[in-house]
Subunit: 61 residues, 6 copies
């Protein structure tokens, strides 16, 4: 029963999300023996204005 939450600054295409979900699920099955049907993954695309590194928002204004 893994639950994986992925926060990413900016956005991803549907194809990228599908591929990432597939690979992470396969990794958790192979390495941690977690059945895929129990693996939940959520994507959370965060606007650059809402993410800061080193005290600066990533939209760089």
């Amino acid at each position: 029963m893994p639950y994986v939450d992925i926060k990413i600054a900016g956005s991803l295409s549907r194809e990228q999300k599908a591929e990432i979900a597939q690979e992470i699920t396969a990794t958790l099955q192979r390495v941690a023996h977690k059945p895929p049907s129990y693996t939940y993954i959520t994507f959370n695309e965060v606007a650059y204005e809402d993410w800061a590194i080193a005290g600066e928002l990533l939209d760089g204004k």
Copy 2:
């Protein structure tokens, strides 16, 4: 001081959220003796494209 975060694939109506918030708050008061005024609940409606189970995005394309 409970903080409850609810992630749901798809969406809920305002009525559903109101009822869920009321019931969970009542449960935490009755079972865990937490005063309602200290109970925070947030709802997070996740698009089907952003939630995967068994390695497949839920929008099923």
Copy 3:
């Protein structure tokens, strides 16, 4: 596919967790029509030293 994360300052007994999990799952089934087998709930007991309200840690030292 709801995922519910419950953070509570202090601790709960196993009996309290079992009852809370059962009631929240039932609420989500009745109000939001979510099948129980898809409802994940996690409990996160946070030490009073690790939770602050109004700028003060809850262990009250």
Copy 4:
């Protein structure tokens, strides 16, 4: 490597986010000796309809 997630009911202006990010990063550097370049901060503006206190949604309908 601190990761700070800020959930706020309602919204903030870009200026508010920039100032908050700057101050929290400085606090973590001064108090916890965390290098700013490793400090990630995300803002999550939650609609009043999606946040409940005391069992009531904050949009107050």
Copy 5:
């Protein structure tokens, strides 16, 4: 700047965590073009008593 949080019921060995971290980081680099040095991953091993599915705690008592 992805931030990935992995919640798993039960525990993982250090070797499993190292392999999972390596593979997820590689996936995010290859598919989403995220530089590894910006990818943070945290593991959160949740006791079976603290995780419920279908309204039942996973420790199965």
Copy 6:
């Protein structure tokens, strides 16, 4: 009603947590006009073995 979750690799002393909680609460009051009594902050000290950057666990073995 801000809720701030702080994840830190390694640990903090009680004094550090108290000072960080105080300053963040003050920042949110001054910049975002949030009343301190509604500001919740949680600290989550993550073991180095449970945090990866660039695909490597931080315990550096």
